[in-house]
Symmetry: D3
Subunit: 333 residues, 6 copies
């Protein structure tokens, strides 16, 4: 069953669908009430207020829950909202809640690029080391769902996989310019640099940070994973010196101490990896900030607010076709 397109549902539209609870806000003040933000893969819609008399309706509904909602799209001061007639939590195992979350969509093409790159790795010990992760079905199953952050860049199901491929793509393009660079090692760095995020986030309806993610951090958690998987093999798939190269890539990818790297990049491949990671993360954040209409009230071209993911910069919506003929015109016949 197709999901209703929340951002475009007309006033008066009747809704009777499973939705995710994206946010629960208990507003205090003189007229306390609760507002839920409901969402599916198409976007989000807030509910009309639940007043204290309706408190029972929303009791026990938490962030990340899947709910069956019956209601009507109404309007309040030019903002659309959902007047809820009934709402109830669905058992998690009866719903495809993943289908309701923000997602990069089909992961197949990202896997294909990644696995194609892996297949061309020249050094068998490097290939075997990566295979400890990327040939493991459990690892793949989790990796293709994990987001790359909880609220920043690539915060979507599969976001980590997409980010990984972007980093590899940019890193390989850079490595190609430098004959001294070991492109296979850059690729390995891209594939391993964020594996610690698997232990740092959960995505069961909402993107949350785990305790180890908060008190260890994904950088060192990734190095732990690498250390444990490699050492669990007898003999190890690579040498101690080679493992050191990989550990250095993972541990230095944030580039400098103040951004959480316990060690700075000291090899050509670590330097390339760091800039590729940054380019993917920051460009994605810029892309999202430019795409968010809330940054541009009244259609002004320069954002009214600064964006924390971009170190508190404002962003500027501007483009031009530079006189190019419309692409459509080429199609003519």
């Amino acid at each position: 069953m197709p999901q209703p397109d929340l951002p475009t549902l007309p006033l008066g539209a009747r809704l009777q669908d499973p939705l995710l609870v994206v946010e629960v806000e208990h507003r205090t003040g003189d007229h306390p009430h609760t507002v839920l933000t409901l969402g599916n893969a198409s976007g989000r819609l807030p509910t009309a207020p639940f007043w204290p008399t309706d408190a029972a309706k929303v009791a026990g509904i938490t962030r990340g829950a899947v709910v069956q909602v019956i209601g009507t799209v109404s309007s309040y001061r030019d903002r659309r909202q959902l007047a809820v007639d009934s709402i109830r939590v669905l058992p998690r195992d009866q719903v495809d809640w993943r289908a309701l979350m923000p997602s990069i969509g089909d992961v197949g093409r990202w896997w294909k690029r990644l696995d194609d790159w892996r297949a061309r790795i020249a050094g068998p010990r490097l290939a075997r080391t990566l295979a400890l992760f990327y040939d493991d079905p459990d690892f793949r199953a989790r990796y293709e769902q994990c987001p790359a952050s909880t609220a920043g860049h690539h915060a979507a199901l599969g976001g980590l996989l997409k980010h990984t491929v972007e980093v590899a793509h940019i890193g390989l393009a850079t490595a190609r310019l430098y004959p001294h660079a070991d492109a296979d090692l850059v690729l390995a760095g891209a594939l391993l640099h964020d594996i610690g995020k698997l232990d740092s986030y959960t995505w069961e309806g909402a993107f949350e940070m785990t305790v180890p993610g908060a008190v260890i951090g994904h950088v060192v958690l990734g190095a732990f994973q690498l250390d444990r998987r490699v050492r669990a093999q007898q003999p190890m798939p690579c040498t101690e010196d080679e493992l050191l190269l990989l550990h250095h890539l993972v541990l230095s990818h944030h580039g400098s101490l103040e951004f959480g790297a316990p060690v700075v990049p000291m090899t050509l491949e670590a330097e390339i990896l760091h800039y590729a990671d940054n380019a993917s993360a920051k460009t994605a954040s810029m892309d999202e900030a430019l795409d968010d209409p809330e940054n541009f009230p009244d259609d002004r071209p320069v954002s009214a607010r600064t964006v924390w993911q971009l170190d508190r910069r404002r962003v500027w919506r501007a483009d031009s076709d530079w006189g190019a003929p419309e692409p459509e015109e080429n199609i003519s016949d």
Copy 2:
């Protein structure tokens, strides 16, 4: 006539060649003397000391001069040096001094990639604006010689052209990942971002900073060049709004105020350009640092000193073939 290979000339070898004066050091102390560092495209070699009694020989010899030298390779405490019998300054117009400087070599392939990219630009106004520079033979003649810095990354004849192509290459690879990014505009940013370096450096035998380079800086000098060339055309090849987009790319490419950008990147293309510029510059610096034997006395793998071009990091020489068969083995038959 081929240039002698300075780094490998054996002891006792006789030299009778034009060389560049790369450095002039007047050493004080109890036994004052002068040492010249001479160079050609193959590398460098210091002279034996010129004692006060030889002062006449080196009088008037300055950094960047071309000299005809007759001498013999000798050794002093395991370091090779050139015992100079005669040295005289050559008139600049009688020598191909450019052939003696560090250089990226043939510029043809870099121009080809750059011009091929330009040829595929969709917007005629953007193409015409870039053509103001890149179809101007005088601009090209200077651009293909200019270094990208005096002592940092790409400090070689043609270094700016090579850096430009690297930035465009990385920038285009990144832009391809983001459907919202205007790849042509990223290309334009790459081609324009450092044009101010033409006014910032000289390379007449030595790489030097000009006064405008020191007191205005290449970022704003580039914006000046862009402003003047575009406004000199009537009508302008692009609109005012489009010129603003280009100015923003040039002015923001250093990424943040403390690195000399008068404005931070606020568009997707400016963000991509900034990271591509950084990736090219920093990877090149890392490449050079790893290639410099003076960083690695006694063959130790971690550099004995920190590298200022890399924000005072140490660098690590390490690689592995990861068990890959020697490439040569593949060729046999």
Copy 3:
């Protein structure tokens, strides 16, 4: 017709005047409503809430509009407000909206000091270069209106002119102490340093940042203006070397990279200009902060909040007559 004195109008006073719309706030929450802040040269007064039933009254009213208002001064929880009976937007060309904005008042005395200084400049090429701007009636007409910022120091009609004279005054006083300093050049720096603000702000009823102001910045926009005006003359009114001196003054006046100067001050005059600019801007901000009663609730002497224009400092209201006889006493006979 004199403007009503908004800060002192008594309760019950009847108002029937043109006013500026200084702020439009749509407040959400349980009881959404709109409040306008109206102003004239005397100060500001908020309206009573416009409830949804009055929405039609304020539809289409935007920041910076001039409105004809009929209403009565009322009170709500000890805060005066304007209960609006009728409000309508006036055509901009029928109103002297400038008279309603915060303003430095008569600009004549500031012009006089500035032009007197100009008249005493010894170097004819410097005088002619400044005259390109300061003898241009269009430039003067805009310069005497432009604010020096949108919400910081000298945010008033004519604020830029006043700030310019202050900077020149302090700069000349400093230059007089240093025989090596070229006082005329310091004056030129003061007169040119902020000309880019003409392209950075609008003041049509409200002080707003333009797109070029946001994406290029007033520092470089000023250098552009200087470059274009000087080069538009044939022959140029000054030499290339002299233009370089002026560009350096404009581009370095923020003092250090992290404050948006693409180059740091490197001449005596640039150093003097920088400190004079800072002294004017920061002292004005301090003056305004001390004058703002909202910083001092309950008449406490140390401000209850920090002031962002002063790098998040608190300010202290303190003074003493140190036992001096009252000035009034001197008047007597």
Copy 4:
């Protein structure tokens, strides 16, 4: 007896004069020797080396000593030096060693301006408080000799007095622009802000930091002086609240914590004082840096080295007469 003009004495000139020992350098290496830098009010001249065989000649000669020297100006590698025939330390009380130190010269005109300003102070309590210092002959005798730093700005006998007048001059010029500013209080701040330097430096032949200057600092030492002198009077010449105003001026004049101010400026007068102090100190440093030929080898216009007193900036020697007729031409006829 006039002092010989050290910077211009011709080769072969015979010298038989008292000089100050500005620097004593024991150079190690293969040929250890000692070089003295000797100076008087005209400038400095290094000696030829004292070899170990001459060690007895320089035994016991320390920085700041006054010596009677007999010698001849010679040259060594284009640098003038003094070949010393005989040198002996003079008893300090037999020489006018102050006449040999760098100095601002006659202090009378600086005192006159300062005392004239004091005479016009309106508040008697403020005047009396300043008089505790500025009517005290012992204070004046020391103040007119004290330098403003040991090796930075105004490092000369009387430098502190000159700096004080400069700060007052710039501060009063600024205060005049702001009706809310208490110009007398700004003046008081200028006169008191650096009194702690009297306890921080010695100038008995050399400028040295005292132990209290190093372990307390001149800012707090100044506040101590103020506190002790004011409280030693019964009744105090000003009120506790007024003393607090003065303490705040002294303690905040460095402007921000990282520059050693224990508290930031929070009043209009403290803000004005801070910028006036900075303007005097930094402009003087820039003036000195531009005047130092060692910054400009080979007459290049941009300094070859960075200047630590200017936060590691380079400086630029550039000026122009802008086409002004030579001042001399006006005189003749």
Copy 5:
């Protein structure tokens, strides 16, 4: 009469007690009202809103007042509040308002440890200098009440005394490890380092910063106190050099300029004091942050918000008994 335990009073409980007014909030918006936060030594409880019709009840009630309240504990959206029937301000001299404030409790044991340490000081001049403060009953009476901050660490009556003992305890433990350290001097530093807080805070019902605390700061105020008390004795109880040592301890204890120390620690004892001070202050802040349930909504182990007293860190509630038998089990039998 025992104080009611505010955090645990059941719904419906009747209250008729003196309480402190900890906070007064006038909330604006559509339904303006006032809420008081009332407290005693057991904790705090907010009142139900006072609507405009009740405005008279709360007129003139300010932060820090003691009020006699009659009311009932009610609930509003799961948060307990006090429905106030009557409230009136009590004359300050009729109430033991100190008993109602947060407090470290009995100060006797802290005094005992401090005085025991003092009794063992070997140097009589050091002991006499400390006795100027610690044998003065007025000083002791104020010191044992003063908080160590208004809203940060040890913000309680007696907090300064407790913090002082902690600093001494840690400092002495550190000094014991270093034979070169003068443990008595470390103790003196601990006892003197924060005496300026007596002039910086008031605690008459609320913890407030004084004007001198804001415009001079407790560091320098402490040095003033030390300077005045020591110099008021004739002869001084210690030498000038010894006083310098003590001043250095007080002035450097914040460790670096950016944290408000006008001078950095330069002796072994000053270094030890600085770390002991930091250890006490930061550990106390961490302790309080972990103890504050508002940091841990929904019982999540990692705090939902960052803590400004800890430089914006999050904190983590975690512990384990590591398999230790319950302490209680040991007691039984």
Copy 6:
């Protein structure tokens, strides 16, 4: 055989002993030569120069070698040196080279305190986890030799053990003040926080950084060690949650990201550990700086140079007996 006391050997003394080569300096210049710095547990002594004609004598002698030296103490410009008659490298296994290195001396008393503390740990799982390291003879053998740094604090054989005990001592003293703190866990943090230094340094005659120490860092290397040892046991000696607590202590002990901690302290015990570590390291550095006569030429009380281990501070030698009777006087009889 006792070692000769190098710092006090008189001129003319004859030396025939094994010594360590602490430094090898090849000095270039006009008279190139080599100087060795030789040392034993008593201190250091430089050799007289080895001129090129003696080059054979020092060929192959490297830092860290043990040499048998025959020579005589001579003097050169007031500095003692060793004129070497013969020098030869001793086989490492024939010499007790450890006896020649700087050392904390007998390690027994440090082990005793450490093991006593361990014996009192209440939680068996914590005790067992620590025992994995501290009951392992190989670990102990290495731990009691390892320095705590190569050139900073505790750079001596056994320095790490001494530093560990100091951190535990200060940490336990702090923990005792906070009832919420788990003192056993603080002890565990002290014992584990620097175990990664075992993999980061070598001490075979010289203190050197290993490659893993440089490219991973001791913080993460320590976490690796902990992870591997604990997981190598089946079942693990502690729970996963407990291991997380220990990992957090190790990884956060540097306190903030810019000092190389990949995560900041978030528990009470981690905060205490961080300050205890800092107090030990910085106090030791201060102690060493004050003890180094090279910092205090001419017996001046304030160091002539800044100390990099103390963030470029100067240090001050000052003490007083405060009038205490000489300890010796107490001994009388």
